[in-house]
């Protein structure tokens, strides 16, 4: 039995009176492609926030390759191999694309504590950053300022930054949101190209693209796990349809 890449056990979170996450448990195998779906307000992003440490859990545990994450500050979880993209883009809009990726690379590099040397003199960082931008098809746009790029380009930049962290577990929060059909195909191809060393957990609404990508699916509703299984199982399960059409 290999250690799961991500093991969530009885995770709970309340906001005042409202339970946002109710006793959620799930297990993701290394290299797996897991999809998390559910109607709006189901608690999907809250679950991500609990895993990353942006929110502190009331109860339960989160293990990354066996390592307990609860109580650990976010940046330490990142150093253990966690990376994440956000549903609402959080980039550095006044900086160049390459600088955004450099910041991602610095986060895991000792040089980030250096208050003396000139950052732009670290040619290897910039070359590395450009390589990651190439991978997502933004090689030509490296010197452009984020504010002057299109929404689709910014989504790909987020992906480049996450990949630059060489994560073991990658959390993608609606990576296809707001993209045109063509852009969706591009991003889908990029996601397919991510090697199996990276375990991916994705939240998505776009069923067409996401369903094809997923191997296993977890369905959330009102903060609870309703259905979980392989793609075929979940699609066939009547409760899935209920969650989206019923109540």
């Amino acid at each position: 039995m290999t250690t799961p890449a991500l093991e969530v056990a009885h995770l709970s979170k309340r906001f005042g009176g409202l339970p946002a996450t109710k006793d959620v448990s799930l297990s993701v195998s290394p290299g797996e492609r897991r999809l998390i779906i559910g109607p709006n307000g189901a608690g999907k992003t809250t679950l991500f926030n609990l895993i990353t440490g942006d929110l502190s859990a009331d109860a339960g545990s989160v293990r990354l390759f066996g390592q307990e994450l609860i109580g650990m500050p976010t940046q330490r979880r990142v150093h253990l191999g966690l990376a994440r993209t956000y549903q609402i883009l959080t980039l550095f809009p006044r900086e160049r694309l390459v600088h955004n990726v450099v910041l991602a690379l610095l986060g895991l590099d000792r040089r980030r504590w250096n208050p003396w040397s000139i950052l732009t003199a670290s040619r290897d960082l910039y070359a590395n950053a450009r390589a990651f931008l190439e991978r997502v098809g933004l090689g030509d746009a490296a010197e452009r300022i984020v504010a002057e790029t299109s929404y689709g380009e910014r989504r790909r930049l987020e992906l480049a930054m996450a990949l630059a962290q060489k994560p073991k577990l990658l959390l993608l929060d609606e990576p296809l949101a707001g993209l045109s059909q063509a852009e969706r195909q591009t991003v889908r191809a990029l996601l397919d190209a991510i090697p199996r060393e990276v375990t991916i957990v994705m939240i998505e609404h776009d069923m067409d693209t996401a369903l094809a990508f997923a191997e296993r699916i977890t369905v959330l509703h009102y903060g609870e796990v309703i259905v979980e299984g392989t793609r075929a199982e979940v699609v066939a399960d009547p409760r899935t349809r209920e969650v989206y059409l019923g109540d």
Binding site: F92, L103, L106, W113, L119
Partner: protein, 327 residues
Amino acid sequence: MTPRAAAGLALCVLALVAVPWVIGNEFYVNMASQVLIYALFALSINMMLGYGGMVSLGHAAYLGIAGYACILATTAGYDQLTAAVFAVALSTAAAAFFGVLSLRAPGLGFIMITLALGQIVWGVAYRANDLTGGDNGIRHPARPMPFGFDISDAPSFYYFTLVVFLVALFFIWRFARSPFGASLKGARDQPRRMRMLGHNVWLVRWITFVMAGFWASVAGVLYVYYNLFLSPHAISLQQSAEILLMAILGGASTLSGPIVGAAIITLVKNVVSTYVERWNTLLGVIFVVVIVFMPYGLVPGCAQAWERLRNRMKSRKVSPAASEPAQ
């Protein structure tokens, strides 16, 4: 650095060095020294404000702690170097401690806690008559003689201050362009994102706070050498506010902004004080006007205006050629 920027910098340094020769009047040379001291002070607060997005309203405390420590150590009989090192070390240690407290609540809580801490330091200086002379202040015996140089006259003191200032400016310039500086600026813009990229936002902010306290302490020792006197007024809320205003007025996002701001505020203050008693009102009005109408400060504002002017002149150059008859 581009060749043009290097040339511009060299010119500025040359101009600064030439000041005592060009301006014969001792009064103005002294004012230039004052400007440099306040510029250093403003640059230190800007490390937090401009690059870190942290508004400290108690920064004058480090000028005060270093200043009082320097005077007390010197009067107790320690030699000048020991006194200066002790003063800076003590004040920086205070910054390390106050930094932990202030960062307990980033954002608006930071402003309130730094203000409260600054006022407490002021309050202690004001009331501890035995130690600090209370409202009457205490004197520094005489200007020191660093490496045997006598800096008791205006031009010599100016050069001494200029050397310290240029060294500090160099360090702060490199700080702004370093990976650490990039991490700080990133934390200013998107702290949650930076954490998710692996940066320890709290630690970055705290280290910056301590560094800012260090340079403010250095400015404090220079201040005491210049005035040969220190009273609680130098660590009042008004002083902290003036320093902040210098950084904001000049342009917090730039390196030259605080220097320009320090020059303007110091000159205006000295000139205005001779004609008008209402410096505080003017200070308040400038504050409000700058924040409402010129939030990015003068240096970026002027740079933008300059850019627009250049673009307009460029397009003018094109049109006469276009109106020439075709050959």
